[in-house]
C-alpha cells in the first residue's frame, strides 16, 4: 500500500479514504477497478456509495474493510491507517453470511465469543442485539428456518454486536424484494439513529440510498471514480414513508440523471464485450 498523500486526517472525520486506486491484473491486461477515490465520513453520518454494476463498489468495500490490500492511496480510521481488517470497522456482506451451524443467538454472539467474553454474558449481550433487529423470539432458531431478510438482520446484529465504530455494508438487502427492503431500511435507520452509528452503505439501489443517507456518492462506470456527491436534506428521524415525499422524488431524479449515463455505458460495454468474445470464437 503506497501513501503518497501528505494530507493529515481531519479530526472531525472518522473514516477517510484518500486517493485510493486499485488495479487488477487479468489475462486481458491491467484493469483499474477504482481510480483516485477520496471522501471522508464524519462520526454518526450515514453515507451511501451508488454506482452501476461493475463500477468497483464492492472492490472499494473490500479495500475499506481491509480484505483487499496492495492498492494505492490510503484509508484511515480516526487518523489510524487501515492495513488489513480493523477492529473499528464492522462489515455486513451482500451474500448470505450467517453460520448455518449456529443458532441466531450463537451467530450474533460470535464476535463476543472471539473476544473471549464468558458464555452467559455474551448470550445476554447477543439477546440485546437480536431484539434490536426485531428478531426477539427467534434466538434458538437456525438460519435455515428463517427468511432471507431475517438472515440478513442476523448478520447485521452479529456485526453490531462487535460494536464497530464504522458499519460498512455491501448491498445487504440486494437479494430481497422491494417491500422487505424498504421495511428493513426503516430498521437500519432506526438502529443507526439509536446508536448514532457511522455507516457506509454500498448499493446500486437509488431508493435505498436516498431513504437512508445523509450523503450519496455517485460513482462512474469502469474505472470507478467519484462523479458527484449529493447531500440528502430530508428530515430526521426518517422512515420508509419518506419515499412518497416530493423532495425524495427530486433527489432520486437528480441522482438518476448521473447514474443513467453510467449505467448506459456499462450496458454498452457489456454488449461490446459479448460481441468481441463471439468474434474471437
Amino acid at each position: 500500500m503506497a501513501s503518497g498523500v501528505a494530507a493529515q486526517p481531519q479530526p472531525t472525520h472518522l473514516l477517510e479514504v484518500e486517493r485510493v486506486t486499485k488495479r487488477f491484473i487479468t489475462n486481458e491486461g491491467a484493469i483499474t477497478a477504482v481510480d483516485d477515490i477520496s471522501f471522508s465520513i464524519a462520526p454518526g453520518e450515514f453515507v451511501s456509495i451508488i454506482g452501476p454494476s461493475g463500477c468497483g463498489k464492492s472492490t472499494l468495500f473490500n479495500i475499506i474493510g481491509g480484505l483487499i490490500g496492495d492498492y494505492e492511496g490510503r484509508v484511515t480510521v480516526a487518523g489510524e491507517i487501515v492495513s488489513g481488517t480493523h477492529p473499528a470497522i464492522g462489515m455486513v456482506f451482500q451474500e448470505e453470511s450467517t453460520f448455518p451451524w449456529r443458532t441466531v443467538l450463537e451467530n450474533v454472539a460470535f464476535p463476543l465469543e472471539v473476544a473471549g467474553i464468558p458464555r452467559q454474558r455474551r448470550l445476554e449481550r447477543a439477546e440485546h442485539f437480536v431484539s434490536m433487529v426485531g428478531l426477539s423470539g427467534f434466538g434458538r432458531r437456525f438460519p435455515a428456518e428463517l427468511s432471507g431478510g431475517m438472515r440478513q438482520r442476523v448478520a447485521l446484529a452479529r456485526t453490531l454486536a462487535s460494536e464497530p465504530r464504522i458499519l460498512l455494508m455491501d448491498e445487504p438487502f440486494a437479494a430481497l424484494d422491494e417491500q422487505t427492503r424498504l421495511l428493513l431500511g426503516d430498521k437500519v435507520l432506526q438502529i443507526q439513529q439509536e446508536l448514532k452509528q457511522t455507516t457506509l452503505l454500498i448499493t446500486h439501489n437509488l431508493t435505498e440510498a436516498v431513504q437512508l443517507s445523509d450523503r450519496v456518492l455517485v460513482m462512474t462506470y469502469r474505472p470507478g471514480r467519484l462523479k458527484r456527491v449529493v447531500g440528502i436534506n430530508l428530515p430526521h428521524p426518517r422512515d420508509s414513508e419518506v419515499v412518497s415525499s416530493d423532495a425524495f422524488g427530486h433527489y432520486v431524479a437528480e441522482i438518476w440523471q448521473d447514474l443513467r449515463e453510467e449505467a448506459s455505458r456499462g450496458i454498452r460495454d457489456d454488449e461490446s464485450r459479448v460481441l468481441q468474445a463471439g468474434a474471437k470464437r
Binding site: 474493510g65 481491509g66 480484505l67 481488517t85 477492529p87 470497522i89 464492522g90 462489515m91 456482506f93 451474500e95 448470505e96 453470511s97 453460520f99 448455518p100 451451524w101 449456529r102 443458532t103 460470535f110 464476535p111 465469543e113 472471539v114 437456525f142 438460519p143 435455515a144 456485526t159 462487535s162
Partner: protein, 256 residues
C-alpha cells in the same frame, strides 16, 4: 396424526424399512422351501434365526462382537484423527494437495486387504494388524472428503472470519471445520464402511479376533445357519457404528 402424515414421518419410514426386511426374509424362506434356492448353499432364514441363540451360548458371539467392535472403534478414531488432520494439511498447503491428491485417490481404489502379509510382518498376528488394515483401507475417503469440504467453504464465511480478525487457528476451528463437517462426515462414513469390510475380512483371513474368525470357524465346520447368524452380527455392528456416526453428526451440526 393422519395415516398419510404418519407414512411420511420418520417413524413411518422406519416401520416401512423393517417391513421390507421382514418381507425379503419371508420371500427368501419361501423360495428356499419351494426349491428355487438350494438349501445346502443358503440355509433357511428360520434356521439362521434359530442358530443365533446357539452361537450366543456356544460360540461366545457377544464377546467376539465386542472384540470386532473395539477394532472398528480404534480404526474409526484413527481415521478421524489422522484422516481429518491430513485433509486439513492438504487443504492448507496447495503444493501438497497438488502433489498428493491423485495418489490419495488411487489409494482409495487399492485392494489394501491383499497387503495383509506385510501388516502381519510389521505388527504380528494381533488386533493391531487388523486395526491398521482397517485404518489404511478407510483413510483415502476421509482425506479426500475433508479436503473437498474445507475447499468448498463459502468465501463469504471466510471473509466474515477475517472481518472479525480471527487467528488462523480460530478460522479453522470456528469456521472452516464446522462448514466442512457435512462433507467430512460423508468421508468418515465411507471410511468406516471400508474399514469394517477390511477388519472382518482380515479377521477371517488370519483366523484371529472377533466375528471374522468366528465366521471362518463356522464355515470350516460347514455350520451354515451359524455362519449366516454370525454375519447378522457383523451387520448389527455396521448398524451400530453408522447410527453412532449419524448421532455424532447431528450433535455437531444440529441444524442439519
Amino acid at each position: 396424526m393422519t395415516l398419510k402424515a404418519w407414512a411420511r414421518s420418520r417413524g413411518g419410514a422406519r416401520v416401512l424399512g423393517a417391513v421390507t426386511v421382514v418381507a425379503l426374509i419371508a420371500g427368501v424362506e419361501a423360495l428356499i422351501r419351494a426349491g428355487f434356492i438350494n438349501r445346502f448353499i443358503v440355509p433357511l432364514p428360520s434356521q439362521i434365526l434359530a442358530a443365533i441363540p446357539r452361537i450366543i451360548v456356544e460360540e461366545n458371539v457377544l464377546h467376539r462382537f465386542w472384540q470386532t467392535a473395539q477394532e472398528i472403534l480404534w480404526a474409526s478414531l484413527l481415521l478421524a484423527a489422522v484422516g481429518i488432520s491430513l485433509g486439513a494439511l492438504l487443504h492448507r498447503f496447495r503444493i501438497l494437495r497438488l502433489a498428493c491428491e491423485t495418489w490419495v485417490a488411487a489409494l482409495a481404489a487399492a485392494p489394501i486387504v491383499l497387503m495383509y502379509p506385510l501388516f502381519l510382518v510389521i505388527f504380528g498376528r494381533s488386533a493391531t494388524t487388523i486395526v491398521m488394515i482397517g485404518f489404511a483401507a478407510g483413510l483415502a475417503p476421509v482425506i479426500l472428503k475433508t479436503v473437498e469440504g474445507l475447499s468448498g467453504t463459502r468465501r463469504v464465511l471466510i471473509d466474515v472470519g477475517r472481518s472479525f480478525r480471527l487467528s488462523p487457528a480460530q478460522q479453522f476451528w470456528k469456521i472452516l471445520l464446522p462448514a466442512a463437517l457435512p462433507s467430512v462426515f460423508v468421508g468418515l462414513k465411507l471410511g468406516l464402511i471400508f474399514a469394517m469390510i477390511n477388519i472382518v475380512g482380515v479377521e477371517f483371513l488370519i483366523n484371529f479376533g472377533g466375528l471374522g474368525q468366528l465366521i471362518n470357524e463356522l464355515a470350516e465346520r460347514y455350520d451354515l445357519p451359524g455362519t449366516y447368524g454370525a454375519i447378522c452380527f457383523v451387520i448389527l455392528a455396521s448398524i451400530v457404528f453408522f447410527d453412532v456416526t449419524e448421532r455424532l453428526e447431528r450433535w455437531l451440526r444440529p441444524s442439519e
